[in-house]
């Protein structure tokens, strides 16, 4: 009883949020409430604006050239999308685990300590405590405790993702966004990751975007189905999965079972337009050449 009571208090309110890449609209007036201390899964086919929604949450959308948005996302009374919003504070409060594990080019220790250091934590002993704690919470401590100073890039991909999880919660956020966090992982690592998430919802509000319905069924307390940028249906997981009200939801969920595909725990999501930021398009970088002045081909 108490659980549901806290969940209902102070939900995150997404109001009329629309997202655009240039002229094309990828999110269409989303209205959604996300309960605290629960896992909310946002499901739907790939490339339908789900990642964009997440990026709006922590304002990473600001980095994408040509992207714009409208609407409000109210967290604790503050509109995250507002012009005056303190973006740095937002990003501390709202963490994001990306689809592809991206360890920073630092040691394991320094990866986890990165966040606290940025916020000014300098005390060595404190940092060591912090790093240990969050590695434990992410379920990675036992595996790496003897090699904290080695480069994070040497970890397996499943470990890297858990490292990113540790790193993400080390800044003590309230909300954790996960963008298809296991799509790059093998089934065993995926399972590990999902278990950690389940433990984390006591403390954090978790929003997970996934195109894997089975994962959503395993993890979610609440579900929102977004198709082609539009919110089709949302509600408690049990209701949506067993008794979908909208025809399109029904079709999507049934479609998974009809196709009889095994749970796609290790599947990579397809090419998402949302994944392309401005920078990856730098033609010189794409070719992997360094051009010297006087010889450059112009920009």
């Amino acid at each position: 009883m108490t659980h549901d009571a806290t969940a209902a208090v102070n939900p995150i309110r997404i109001k009329d949020v629309s997202g655009f890449y240039g002229p094309s609209r990828v999110l269409d007036s989303i209205n959604l409430e996300i309960p605290r201390n629960r896992i909310t899964a946002i499901i739907g086919p790939s490339g339908c604006g789900k990642s964009t929604l997440l990026k709006c949450f922590n304002r990473l959308i600001d980095l994408v050239e040509g992207a714009s948005y409208s609407g409000q996302i109210i967290v604790d009374g503050v509109d995250v999308l507002g012009k005056d919003a303190d973006v740095l504070e937002i990003r501390r409060k709202i963490g994001l685990i990306a689809q592809k594990p991206t360890p920073l080019p630092l040691s394991i220790f320094d990866n986890v300590a990165y966040g606290p250091r940025i916020y000014g934590q300098k005390d060595r002993a404190e940092l060591e405590k912090i790093v240990r704690h969050y590695l434990e919470v992410a379920g990675l401590w036992e595996e790496v405790k003897d090699r904290l100073k080695t480069p994070a890039i040497n970890l397996s991909i499943g470990q890297q993702q858990r490292l990113c999880l540790a790193r993400g919660i080390a800044v003590d956020p309230e909300i954790l966004l996960c963008d298809e966090p296991t799509s790059a992982l093998d089934p065993v690592s995926s399972q590990h990751f999902e278990e950690q998430l389940k433990l984390l919802k006591e403390k954090y509000t978790i929003v997970i975007v996934t195109h894997n319905i089975h994962q959503a069924m395993r993890l979610a307390d609440y579900v929102a189905y977004i198709y082609l940028g539009e919110l089709i249906e949302s509600g408690p997981a049990a209701e949506v999965f067993e008794n979908p009200k909208d025809e399109r939801t029904k079709a999507y969920i049934k479609g998974v079972f009809l196709n009889d595909l095994p749970p796609e725990a290790g599947e990579r999501s397809g090419s998402n337009p949302e994944d392309f930021g401005g920078r990856d398009e730098d033609p010189d970088v794409q070719h992997g050449r360094i051009l010297v002045p006087g010889l450059s081909e112009g920009d």
């Binding site: 740095l88 501390r92 990306a98 991206t102 990165y114 940025i118 790193r167 993400g168 360094i290 450059s296």
Partner: protein, 307 residues
């Protein structure tokens, strides 16, 4: 054998000759310079050459210490000015500037790269030298070490040379540094920003770390360029064969030495050999630095391709 294959073979060979021939220029040039400097090297003791501070060819004194020190000083000043300004500019262009700003500024930097050295010299004489002279007038009397001066300073100095060289070196360092900074993968940048870091913190802790080798290579290439530049430096550095004790003193860098004296080369014994040795020295230093920088850059390019 069909005609097409024959043509292919012949043209292939011709092209190979062109390529190999061009590359072997290196050996030819270095070899020719070595051969012609040999008489000099064999006659004058090496210690005299590198440590002797007297340059009086008609009396047989060929101490290159003065020119070498002069070159090093001018280059050092040039790098001291160029490196901070270039790296800061590169960071701004790579990380903060909008596409519009980049589109306007990057071509300007390229343009700077293409301006003939003699024009840098002209502007140096007209603008930098007088500026240095007045700076010397104010700072000189203060007696700061290395910034002292005698009563009247013309402005033709190591400092003037350094400043002019710095402007010539900007494009090299900026261009390469900017490229390596942009090459930092977007995900890593986003990972840092997503944690709430400021852009500067991201650059400081992650970007610069990853771009460091490339920037190092850029600086090395810039150094090599400054070391070997002749014309622009010649026009502003004073060409007085003493070791400068202050930045306001003139100097006589190696390229200036060669350029100023080639006219009398043949009239004094060993003079031509000595000057050609100076040229060889220049080539070897630039060679060493270029090789070093290219090795670093190739390593980075390979990383980018697999990246």
């Amino acid at each position: 054998m069909p005609a097409r294959k024959v043509i292919d073979r012949i043209t292939g060979n011709v092209m190979a000759v062109a390529a190999i021939g061009s590359a072997s220029l290196l050996i030819v040039v270095a070899g020719a310079l070595s051969v012609r400097s040999a008489p000099f090297l064999l006659t004058v003791p090496v210690t005299d050459i590198f440590l002797g501070s007297t340059w009086m060819p008609d009396e047989g004194h060929f101490g290159l210490l003065v020119p070498i020190v002069g070159t090093l000083l001018v280059t050092a000043i040039a790098m001291a000015v160029a490196v901070p300004l270039s790296i800061l500019s590169a960071i701004y262009l790579a990380e903060y500037a909008t596409e519009r700003v980049r589109a306007k500024v990057l071509p300007l930097i390229d343009l700077l790269a293409g301006i003939p050295p003699v024009i840098f010299g002209v502007v140096g004489v007209l603008v930098v030298v007088p500026a240095v002279a007045s700076l010397a007038a104010t700072l000189g009397p203060l007696g700061i070490p290395f910034f002292g001066t005698t009563d009247y300073n013309t402005g033709f100095s190591v400092l003037a040379g350094g400043i002019v060289l710095a402007t010539m070196v900007f494009p090299i360092i900026i261009s390469i540094s900017e490229q390596v900074l942009r090459a930092v993968p977007a995900e890593i940048r986003e990972a840092s920003l997503g944690l709430g870091a400021t852009r500067w913190q991201t650059i400081k802790h992650v970007g610069l770390r990853m771009a460091f080798p490339g920037m190092g290579a850029a600086i090395i290439l810039g150094f090599a360029r400054a070391f070997g530049e002749t014309m622009a430096v010649l026009m502003v550095v004073g060409n007085v064969a003493t070791i400068p004790s202050s930045v306001f003193d003139p100097a006589y860098p190696l390229p200036a030495l060669i350029a100023n004296n080639y006219g009398e080369m043949m009239s004094i014994p060993l003079y031509d050999s000595a000057l050609l040795f100076a040229a060889l020295l220049l080539m070897l230093v630039v060679l060493a630095f270029t090789v070093l920088a290219r090795l670093i850059l190739v390593r980075i390019e390979r990383g980018m391709a697999h990246g």
